[in-house]
Point group: C2
Chain length 301, copies 2
């Protein structure tokens, strides 16, 4: 059986008290099958962002334990910070990384939400791909009104929580949980300084303009380089491939007599987004991700 790996980036509303922060993070260090990649507390935002990766069972267990600490130790009534927030456990996104479909991530997000609602008597909204209504997809929409406004908002029929009671947790507020695909930030450079060309190409290749389904794109000026760039967010690299947007930009650039001169990937991306590119250009047949040595090093015990 192939290992299933997801990433989870829970946000907790505590950015100052190192002891509470360490107690929240502890389950991600302790539980088998998960790996704490990063956690950073921001004093101004008064918020803790944890990046953890692991198999579904390990993530579920560690996350519920961390939520328990946050619900017990954070009092939103005395919480001040610059970042909008509505609960002690503010938001919990699950992101498929390997051998996990978005549907499996949605299922996991619902399992966690159901158990957390019961265990902590916490109202929970499902968001992004887990949303139960279009107006719940966007986190900002859910979070509007913040902790202080939620005692009222939660009583509106259209804002009845997906799990848990229809009133806020007195100290921990409410929580949003959901699944979403990882974003891949991919920029392609053109040998022109004309921003309108980059914008025209961006419009043609992106979903909203009639282009690729899982591609968002805008034109951007690179002042130091005297170039422009088509700057993209690939919102599901498993269905819209990087090479598709790259080749489509080359194709569009031709009509302006412009050339693609390079590209860049910004930040972290799953390996598959790149092996997919290599497999396309080499015309690889029967290639399997398990042939990659590094894939054999992950949770193989």
């Amino acid at each position: 059986m192939k290992d299933k790996i997801l990433e989870c980036v829970p946000n907790f509303s505590e950015g100052k008290d190192r002891e509470i922060i360490e107690r929240i993070v502890e389950p991600f260090r302790r539980v088998e099958g998960v790996k704490l990649l990063d956690y950073s507390a921001d004093i101004d935002h008064n918020r803790l962002v944890v990046t953890v990766i692991g198999d579904p069972d390990g993530l579920k267990e560690s996350l519920l334990d961390a939520m328990e600490v946050a619900v017990r130790e954070i009092d939103m009534n005395s919480h001040r910070g610059e970042h909008p927030r509505m609960g002690a456990v503010d938001v919990v996104p699950f992101i498929p990384v390997k051998n996990v479909t978005i549907d499996e991530a949605i299922e996991l997000s619902n399992q966690v939400a159901r158990q957390a609602a019961r265990r902590f008597n916490l109202p929970i909204y499902m968001y992004e791909n887990s949303a139960t209504a279009p107006e719940r997809q966007n986190l900002a929409n859910i979070r509007k009104g913040q902790f202080e406004g939620f005692s009222e908002k939660i009583r509106l029929p259209e804002w009845k929580p997906d799990y848990g009671p229809s009133e806020i947790h007195k100290t921990a507020g409410v929580t949003a949980i959901g699944a979403r695909m990882p974003l891949v930030a991919f920029n392609v450079n053109l040998d022109t300084h004309k921003l309108d060309i980059a914008n025209a190409i961006a419009k043609k290749i992106r979903n909203s303009g009639g282009g690729l389904r899982f591609c968002k794109a805008i034109g951007v000026s690179l002042k130091e380089k005297e170039m422009v760039q088509v700057s993209m967010n690939m919102t599901d690299y498993t269905r819209t491939s990087l090479y598709q947007s790259f080749e489509m930009i080359k194709m569009e650039a031709r009509r302006y007599g412009v050339n693609v001169v390079g590209s860049e990937l910004v930040g972290i991306l799953p390996m598959q987004a790149l092996t997919d590119v290599a497999a396309y250009y080499l015309g690889l047949e029967n290639f399997c991700e398990e042939q990659i040595l590094e894939n054999r090093l992950l949770w193989e015990d």
Copy 2:
């Protein structure tokens, strides 16, 4: 600091006794910083092949401990098996996987050889990239005469061991240790059934024919597919890239009016061999292997 990872595939001359085999393998389970990927004992060959991966320190420690068990418990005087062999620890190749140069692997192989020779009073030959003379590069050359012939061979001046005494270990014989690059087996299919075309292209692109430095190639018939193939061993993918051989085959195929119709990768390969391909075709600038999520999961604790 970036994690350094190597693979090591030691061969031990015991393929039958499960208890001895488990004792040899135990250090690879126990020592921190190494991961036992596979071990298989072949009764006919009477040989145990271990695949282990890890950082230099962990590999050194676990390997020396495993060698100690093998030297103590295997008596080559009573060893029978179909595979050529010359010692209880027959051969130990070190293979760079990540953030390790071949020179560092050579250095590690010499450290292990020096310590093993001293600790077990064992004669050791350095082979492949670690060889101290051209006739010692090829393992088959060193191994000629096998255990039974080595009492005499080892006294010849040209076969003085690189480390340890100039006589065989009475029960453990002699050992070969060395460093080599991983091989990547890469085949490219052509839409013709004419083997002479595949052979002509293979000859043109391989090192021995004046082509790419780290590329071995032959023509092969694919009977079921009614196609031919240029079958390659890429002997250093960090210096001769997969896309170089692929593009060069396309270029050569053109003169015969033949097309490349696909390719295949056989067996295991390091991720870098593929990210290199993706980076070339997308013209990626400033791409760094650490941007790949999976790279953050390896020995990060």
